[in-house]
């Protein structure tokens, strides 16, 4: 319980720092560090399990780093307006859910639920407000990590855990690959510049 709560808090802090920091390298380093810490926290005394999780955790940021290096994108800038909206949105959703569900949120653990909701708000905000494919990928990764958190708190099975982590890496790899193709074709990984097709 304490471990899981610590993990949740670390994740929320990490996600907020990602938004605040205007530097892609710090962002990615934070992600890698956080995932590594999480790996050790989640598996507690199981060193092998922790190492496997750490490897999975580090692979995704490395893939993103490689794409950033190859596409020579400017620094990701999130701006202050989305930051304020994110904070407000997170607060509003957290309190609304807290009052309406009266501690009987799905996991039955209100404190953890706040962390999940906060993460969800941050992920949705990134996905709605950002246009760079890599930033969208970061949003997707934050969203996927809600799943990882839930596994840690209420569904700690090896099968689900491995499935979730493997697919986080695979999704990162696929989006990174397509981002490179976009860059080769359009000279940009800004999704708002991909306007030949209008779904």
């Amino acid at each position: 319980m304490e471990t899981a709560l610590a993990f949740g808090i670390v994740w929320v802090i990490c996600a907020i720092l990602i938004v605040i920091l205007n530097d892609k390298w710090s962002t990615l380093a934070l992600l890698a560090l956080n995932l590594t810490i999480a790996a050790f926290l989640l598996t507690e005394n199981d060193l092998t399990g922790a190492l496997i999780k750490a490897v999975f955790g580090i692979v995704s940021p490395i893939i993103i780093l490689l794409v950033v290096a190859r596409t020579k994108q400017p620094r990701p800038r999130f701006g202050t307006a989305p930051l304020i909206s994110m904070a407000l949105l997170t607060l509003v959703i957290s309190y609304l859910v807290a009052f309406s569900t009266q501690s009987q949120f799905p996991t039955g653990r209100t404190t953890e639920s706040y962390a999940l909701i906060a993460l969800f708000g941050i992920a949705v905000l990134i996905l709605v407000s950002q246009r760079s494919i890599l930033k969208l990928l970061l949003g997707i990764l934050v969203l996927e990590n809600i799943g990882t958190l839930l596994i840690a708190w209420g569904a700690n099975t090896a099968l689900l855990s491995v499935v979730a982590e493997v697919f986080v890496v695979l999704i990162t790899l696929t989006i990174a690959l397509i981002a490179l193709m976009d860059f080769a074709e359009y000279g940009s990984i800004d999704s708002s510049k991909l306007t030949n097709l209008r779904g």
Partner: protein
């Protein structure tokens, strides 16, 4: 036992195709032989096998597969086989990735339909999604843009699905949906919404539909055919299985799905009517079809589910038929602009016949297969009471532009001869293109005229899903 082989054969064939690499002609024939063998084995297992050999062995059961989705998986494999045949002449220089990825998508879709374990389901769904994303880039250029939209939106959908599946385990304490008990209404509400958003994105529900026309428009036609006809319908079936495994079933969730479904039908039908590009027209019509299936889910009664599952099977056949007909037109004329075509009925009579049968079936015209399933769904909507009769009327009215769209396209592409436009050159079509069109046309008619045999199976299936 043999079912497991039928799923393994496309995977093994995929590996062999990958080994052949640039010898694409050999890879293409290997794919055709592999898929044909898989479909033949599946057919033998369903129609010839004794009770001892039918079904799944303990290994398959341990892997989280069950026989509930057997009929849908069979249609997936059959359509996949026809799509592979069609690819043989259509995809000239297939390159290294085309056949391996196509076979992986076919196999993973069939396996996902058979999954009864949330972890297994997620694995197969994601393998299919990520393979599709790479396959969409096959034609390069604008296809990269389509692939970007596809992979970003579907990955968001996958994240929602993952959260829903984990929440299922947290609340029900098991990964097997057959063993789900009961939980709190708030948990069911949250799981249902996450599941609907996640799988709904993959189905192309409004407002998460924007990837559909771009992806179906830019992917190679056989891939679009399989995605629009089969993957979409199979995902709808998965949604049915998982949604109705949740207890208690919430009326508010069903109503939300029904309203979204009507909206989806409206957007799909109106947007389709305005399209000038044949593939984008069909892409929007597949959004409309997804809406009809979702409406059956939204009604939630046994009769509606029977109609919905029949509509899923019909959609696999009808939508694949019209997409393959459009593929044949593109292969023969190198054109996909509706206004640049005309008078093809005399030059391509089989394709014209196939398109007409598919279009009429999709529009729910008797005695074709689409009529029965759509009638069952609407009847269930009227029987449910409350706001559902009004929603059923709205759904019916909103399908009219789609019917008008099909008539317009058929008239423009096959009948009209515009003197101002040079008649398109039409090259001969391969037998591998014609045979799938004939098979699917015959199925469309047979399933409409003799629905009893299949309806009995679907009735049992819908009762099994509802736990009856």
């Amino acid at each position: 036992m043999y079912i497991l082989y039928t799923l393994a054969i496309p995977l093994i064939t995929s590996a062999i195709c990958a080994i052949f690499g640039r010898k694409t002609k050999i890879a293409a024939y290997v794919a055709v032989v592999g898929m044909t063998l898989s479909a033949a084995l599946f057919t033998a297992n369903l129609f010839v096998a004794t009770s001892a050999t039918a079904g799944l062995d303990s290994f398959a059961t341990a892997a989280g597969l069950s026989t509930v989705g057997l009929m849908i998986a069979y249609v997936v494999i059959v359509i996949g086989t026809l799509v592979t045949w069609f690819s043989l002449p259509y995809i000239g220089n297939a390159g290294r990735i085309y056949y391996p990825l196509l076979l992986i998508i076919i196999s993973s879709t069939a396996a996902a339909v058979l999954s009864t374990n949330v972890a297994t389901l997620y694995v197969f769904l994601e393998i299919g999604t990520l393979s599709t994303a790479i396959l969409v880039t096959y034609r390069k250029g604008r296809a990269f843009e389509a692939a970007t939209k596809f992979v970003v939106l579907n990955s968001i959908g996958s994240s929602f699905t993952l959260i829903a599946l984990i929440l299922m385990f947290v609340n029900y304490g098991t990964l097997n949906i057959g063993s789900f008990g009961s939980t709190s209404s708030s948990a069911v509400l949250l799981i249902s919404l996450f599941l609907f958003i996640g799988l709904g994105t993959k189905i192309g529900v409004v407002p998460m539909h924007s990837w559909v026309p771009d992806t179906y428009g830019e992917a190679p036609t056989p891939v679009s055919t399989f995605l629009a006809g089969t993957v979409k319908a199979a995902t709808a079936f998965i949604l049915i299985r998982f949604l109705f495994a949740l207890h208690p079933t919430l009326d508010i969730v069903l109503l939300f799905i029904a309203v979204t479904a009507v909206l989806t039908v409206g957007v799909g039908a109106f947007m389709a009517y305005t399209q000038k590009d044949l593939k984008r027209f069909l892409a929007y019509s597949s959004i409309e079809q997804a809406g009809i299936i979702l409406f059956a889910i939204g009604i939630g009664s046994s009769a509606a589910l029977t109609g919905g599952i029949f509509q899923i099977i019909n959609n696999m056949v009808m939508k694949s038929l019209v997409f393959l007909c459009v593929g044949a037109i593109i292969a023969a004329t190198k054109q996909r602009n509706i206004d640049g075509l005309g008078g093809l009925v005399t030059k391509m009579p089989i394709v014209a016949g196939g398109f007409l049968i598919g279009a009429l079936a999709l529009s729910g015209i008797p005695p074709l297969s689409g009529f029965i399933s759509e009638y069952l769904i609407l009847q269930a909507g009227f029987a449910k009471g409350g706001v559902y009769p009004a929603l059923s009327v709205a759904l019916l009215v909103l399908t009219f532009p789609m019917f008008a769209g099909y008539i317009k396209v058929f008239q423009r592409v096959f009948l009209t001869v515009d003197q101002k436009i040079a008649a398109p050159r039409v090259s001969n079509l391969s037998i591998y293109i014609i045979i799938p069109i004939i098979i699917l046309s015959v199925l469309c008619v047979l399933m409409g005229v003799f629905p009893t045999a299949i309806m009995d199976q679907i009735n049992k299936l819908s009762l099994a899903i509802l736990g009856g």
